[in-house]
Amino acid sequence: MKHSFIALLEDKCTSCMLCVRECPAWCIHLDSHTVAVTEEGARRPKKVNVLDSFDIDYSLCMYCGVCIDVCPFDALAWDEHRALATTNREDMFLGIEDLRPSDRS
């Protein structure tokens, strides 16, 4: 496996923020909200995190892989994709759509 890209498996992410907090380059940005889901028979509504946005700023990322190591749900993984060169920094900011693993995009 090439260590050329960090991909997000969106459905495994629980918005726990561990990767964001451990990232030494401060390059991961995550936004989520919690929805209270009422299940039938349950006494209280259950709180479920919903991922709104997940961005990796590849102009800052140093490919250390700490986020992959700390993720308890294996929602981040090394991938063969590449963060392509761009002419401005904003384009290095990749969101959920751009972070799909190569076998799913």
Binding site: S15, V20, R21, C23, W26, L30, D31, S32, H33
Partner: protein, 165 residues
């Protein structure tokens, strides 16, 4: 290679003697010299200086280290290759190598405090908001529900007073 002999601490006053002794006993390949700031972020008292010397065939080597207050005798006349390392160490860790070349190597003179000391605040860590500080909101049918504010999180390795309030 015997690891017991690899790392040897010397008193700063013995620094030149020890290096000279090693060079005389065949450790003539000077590999590198560097500083390590092992102090906690609020103290500036000590810095460690490490030098690595090896036999020319790399069959044996020594890591010599010493605890420095602010000055250390230069070894540039014993091992000329150390001169650049000493200049780098001087501007990055603020150590004066007495008897050595005192010209700056990479940084402009008067550019502020030595950047590799732990006590030096990294400007980007102060100016940039930490992405890990964001908290998620609990919403039910679009309306905010309860307070989820847990214990205030801090970025690992960044002192509290560095962050914006």
């Amino acid at each position: 290679m015997n690891p017991d002999f690899l790392w040897q601490e010397v008193h700063p006053k013995q620094w030149r003697n020890k290096i000279s002794e090693l060079i005389d006993s065949g450790f003539i390949y000077f590999d590198f010299l560097t500083g390590v700031d092992r102090e906690n972020v609020n103290s500036e008292s000590n810095c460690e200086v490490i030098a690595h010397l090896a036999q020319p065939d790399l069959s044996d080597s020594r890591m010599i280290f010493t605890q420095v207050k602010s000055q250390l005798a230069s070894i540039a006349d014993l091992a000329p290759a150390s001169s650049w390392y000493e200049r780098e160490c001087a501007e990055m860790y603020g150590i004066t190598f007495t008897g050595g070349d005192s010209r700056p190597l990479l940084r402009h003179e008067g550019l502020g405090r030595p950047p590799l000391r732990k006590s030096v605040v990294l400007a980007a860590r102060v100016l940039t908001p930490w992405p890990g500080g964001a908290e998620s909101e609990i919403k039910e049918d679009g309306r905010k529900m309860g307070n989820v504010s847990r214990r205030r999180q801090r970025p690992p390795g960044v002192p509290e007073n560095w962050l914006k309030p």
